[in-house]
Amino acid sequence: MKTELLIVGAGAAGIAAALSAWEAGCRDILLVDRREKPGGILPQCLHEGFGLATYGMELSGPEYTDRITERLAHTGVRLALGTEVLKVRGDRTAVLSDRGGLTELHFERLILAAGCRERSIGSLPVAGTRPAGIFTAGQAQEMMNLRGQDLGREVLILGSGDLGLIMARQFVLAGKHVIAVIEKESRCGGMARNVRRCIEPYRIPIRCRTTVSAIHGEGRICGVTLRHLDSGAEELLPCDTLVTALGLIPDRELVRGLGDPDWLFLAGNCHRVHDLADSAVAEAETVGTRVGGELAV
């Protein structure tokens, strides 16, 4: 199989790149994503704050997804969902896997829009046991918002980045008790907007200059040791759920070792982690317009 332009990742950036490339004149675009639905992580982001730049209003993740997939439907971009890209090779071929089989695809250009992954608790040298009840923030968001799952009642958030703050509010709105947001730096890591919206109205304590030094619990987590980084003092903090927001890592696994070939382009969070979806989209549009123009018929 052949395609002029292969775009990996049908999240905000991938869709934006596809739309721009189509508008620039490319008429042979395949957009693939491992998820069953388009939008990447947008459908799990129930909070508002998307699309201010594009649509002049603040939309929720699902609303924003509806808008862009609607636009996508009016183009000839082919969308392959539930499809894993197993391999990208230097000879401009990719191997795709879905329930129908394996496909070897030749492409002229590749835009990688694979987003990012979350740093997990395993990457921190934290002492103690390894019980159930520890989730990354994005994972917790997916489980609560897409799967309707109840994760726990007494929740501790580790990391005060935007995702940590957003999840803190989400747990409160779900009727859970958020004990605190733990932050090793001397100030909150998230945007002022998120502190104002997610933390202040609910009086969630942000405990700066502290970290989790040990995890306790045999089956399920029952608490952590909180270390005060300035004094070295420690306290025991009971909880039944630990949500980690330890930062995002651009996901470029698929092109690892391929160097910097002239047919490969990065768009969105797999290029660099953007604070806002709008900013990832703007970057992806630039890339899509450029690549689409090169491939225009």
Binding site: E84, E118, D150, A214, D240
Partner: protein, 479 residues
């Protein structure tokens, strides 16, 4: 009450391999395990090395068994369809005292005909393994050393035992053992077993299990240890097993390129701890050692740290025991107490050894129908594209990748559940899902849904590793 010829207590590597080897005889066997899965204790967390056999005193059971087991290991893993990497090992020294230790080990190894041993200069060692510290003064190279995933091996053995007629009883904690006219009566928290003979392979608790009926001359003093795992993408990973023999005679250090492609670092040592909790000191120790022995290693690629507990056998007076201990306090009752390094290497040999003793006692003839072969779960990763395309054609679930870090498909997960996995960790141990760099943050929820559906239970009943480790709902609350 259930009746058996022999009951094996404990589903660690030793119990699984004892059961497997007992099936070589015409015996009705039960394996009972306290936990929800096999290989959850000592077998779950260790250094994963298949030793070449130069470490032990020539003429001892341990030394002979290790050399023999190593020679047979590739064949064993082929029979059980378990990946084995004979990557070779380099034991390093960085000074005269440790040089002398290595020379002793070399001589020791030669006297036991350990194949291919070579004593290398520091320069030669660095040629073989450029990532080593410049401070290396000599190295003992053992091309027959290798690594295997310990739980994968144990699960393979118990699956093979079950296919040959052994019955597995999980979630059965032994509460009492009594002598009867016919043999023994074992009470667990769920069942009563009657049997003619007992083989106690209860790992960390083997001394206590024996003491339910007999005194034990050997006692287990557990040692804790910590390990780190680096992602397969970590720069400057060694390709051989690196073992460091410190100049001060202190605790050694290992770096093991695992069969999964990650790098295992450790252990640290914590005396007298029966605690599967990682210590901060232990992590620091392992990091310091790693930075010293492999200076170019990217420790920022840490994906997991975990704790292990080792059963150290001690006599009543507290003195430690260097050999394998197989106690036989009464006719028809054997205990393997305090089997630690190289227990993984020798698991099948120890199983055979114990099985032969038991079979002689029970007068059991050979089981002509015993089939030593077991087929593992067919893994998509590592298949050629043609093989993988064929796999998807015959089962569309092979086309659906569930764990994207480790490239594990839905077909593999479903097969693991079909083979008896009931928890997230049991699926992880059978498929490798969740073992990669994201540590399950992208696939655990999918595994949870598949487990609930296949087991016919609500999602909030699914656990990480047994009752009390429910993933949803904040776990069980007392209120």
């Amino acid at each position: 009450m259930r009746g058996f010829d022999l009951v094996v207590i404990g589903g660690g590597l030793l119990g699984c391999f004892a059961a497997r080897n007992l099936c070589r005889r015409q015996l009705h066997i039960a394996l009972i395990e306290a936990r929800e899965d096999v290989c959850t204790g000592v077998s779950r967390a260790n250094t994963a090395i298949v030793y070449p056999g130069y470490d032990h005193k020539p003429g001892t059971l341990k030394a002979e068994m290790t050399v023999r087991a190593n020679a047979r290991f590739a064949e064993l893993c082929a029979e059980l369809d378990v990946p084995f990497s004979r990557c070779g090992s380099l034991m390093l020294s960085c000074g005269e005292k440790a040089d002398a230790v290595l020379r002793e080990k070399y001589k020791n190894g030669l006297s036991m005909a350990v194949p291919g041993l070579r004593l290398l200069s520091g320069e030669e060692a660095r040629e073989l393994e450029p990532s080593l510290t410049a401070g290396v003064t000599s190295a003992l190279y053992a091309p027959t050393a290798g690594t295997v995933n310990p739980w994968e091996l144990g699960i393979a053995a118990v699956e093979n035992a079950a296919a040959n007629g052994a019955e597995l009883f999980l979630n059965n904690r032994v509460l009492g053992i009594r002598k009867t006219a016919e043999g023994y009566r074992i009470e667990t928290d769920r069942e009563v077993f009657a049997c003619r003979a007992v083989l106690n392979c209860a790992g960390l608790y083997a001394d206590r299990v024996q003491e339910l009926l007999f005194p034990s001359e050997v006692h287990i003093v557990p040692d804790g240890a910590d390990y780190l795992i680096l992602d397969r993408a970590a720069a400057n990973k060694p390709t051989h097993i690196i073992q460091y023999e410190p100049e001060d005679g202190g605790k050694g250090f290992n770096a093991v390129p695992t069969v999964e492609g990650s790098l295992l670092l450790g252990p640290s040592e914590r005396a007298n701890e029966l605690d599967f909790a990682v210590s901060e000191r232990g992590i620091d120790f392992v990091r310091e050692r790693a930075a010293f022995v492999l200076p170019g290693l990217d420790l920022g690629e840490l994906i997991r740290s975990f704790a292990a507990v080792r059963p150290n056998p001690r006599r009543e007076d507290g003195s430690s025991i260097g050999s394998f201990v197989i106690e036989n306090p009464a006719p028809g009752f054997w205990s393997m107490i305090g089997i630690k390094t190289p227990g993984l290497t020798c698991a099948d040999e120890l199983g055979r050894f114990a099985a032969e003793k038991a079979a002689a006692f029970l007068n059991a003839g050979p089981n002509e129908r015993f089939d030593p072969r077991r087929r593992g779960i067919k893994k998509a990763r590592g298949m050629s594209w043609e093989q993988r395309a064929a796999a998807v054609r015959s089962d569309p679930d092979y086309g659906e990748v569930v764990c994207c870090c480790e490239d594990i498909t839905k077909a593999e997960v479903l097969e693991a559940i079909r083979r008896g996995a009931t928890t997230l960790d049991a699926v992880k141990r059978r498929t490798g899902a969740c073992m990669g760099r994201c540590q399950g943050s992208r696939c655990q929820q999918k595994l949870l849904a598949l487990l609930a559906r296949e087991l016919g239970v609500p999602e909030d009943a699914v656990t990480k590793d047994g009752a009390g480790s429910e993933v949803l709902g904040g776990g069980r609350h007392e209120d």
